[in-house]
């Protein structure tokens, strides 16, 4: 089990002092309070994956691991690729990357979704999925630009369900 105590001291002290409450839901902020109930049975739903594992394809620019406030950009990942083609560029060494390097499905379970679709558990797989690098300390660009842009693209692809995975 992951607990804050597992993370190295410097990072843990940072997390303890970080103003997470600033980003808690607020009644005046409709985005933070949004709830979209599922309108269809799962076997009719189109599913997309979003991860903050910093995965990207070889022909995409890697995430900027040197930006101290974090890189808020995202990479679009086609459903046609094999997850094992994804490369990993993550700023944080607070977690063990070896599992993901052996099996990208550990954080980007595209192969599992194809199997579930074949069995009829879900209806379809979105044509485009998205990867961020999670170590975003100053998230204002994420909130104002990149997260809404990904949301717009998912809506354009008529996605019903997004499954999000941190590392």
């Amino acid at each position: 089990m992951a607990r804050l105590e597992d993370i190295d001291l410097a990072e843990r002290l940072f997390l303890k002092g970080y103003p997470f409450s600033r980003y808690a839901p607020r009644p005046g902020d409709p985005v933070s309070m949004a709830v979209a109930p599922l309108r269809k049975p799962l076997p009719q739903c189109k599913v997309a994956l979003i991860t903050t594992a910093g995965l990207s394809l070889a022909d995409q620019p890697p995430f900027d691991t040197r930006n101290r406030m974090g890189d808020s950009s995202f990479r679009e990942i086609s459903a046609r690729i094999s997850p094992q083609m994804l490369e990993m560029n993550h700023r944080s060494w607070a977690f063990d990357q070896t599992g993901i390097l052996r099996d990208r499905n550990l954080v980007f379970p595209l192969d599992r979704l194809w199997e579930m679709q074949e069995r009829g558990e879900i209806g379809a797989i979105a044509p485009r999925h998205y990867s961020f690098m999670g170590s975003i300390i100053g998230p204002s660009r994420l909130i104002k630009e990149s997260a809404p842009e990904v949301a717009r693209r998912l809506a354009a692809d008529q996605v019903d369900i997004a499954l999000l995975t941190p590392v």
Binding site: S21, S92, E121, L154, P166
Partner: protein, 82 residues
């Protein structure tokens, strides 16, 4: 910080009318961000789907996460039981 980023992205997606669910490895952080639906999995950081190359476990976790989509008691933070 990944958990905060996931929560913020999750809300932006939910706001466009798409139903979302996230996995969480750090309950303390997810409790502060309160995304609409999250499944807490008690695995180490870097292992949200449990184990590398364990197809069955990964599938069970995805099913448990998708099962939260029909819940109406938002926000939902449920623990995955092995």
């Amino acid at each position: 910080m990944c958990h905060q980023s996931v929560g913020l992205i999750q809300r932006a997606i939910e706001y466009t009318g798409i139903t979302t669910v996230s996995l969480s490895l750090l309950r303390e952080i997810t409790e502060k961000i309160r995304p609409p639906r999250a499944l807490f999995v008690s695995f180490p950081l870097g292992y949200p789907l449990g184990e590398a190359n364990n197809t069955e476990l990964q599938t069970r976790i995805i099913r448990a996460a998708l099962a939260l989509l029909s819940r109406t008691d938002i926000p939902v933070l449920e623990a995955y039981s092995l």
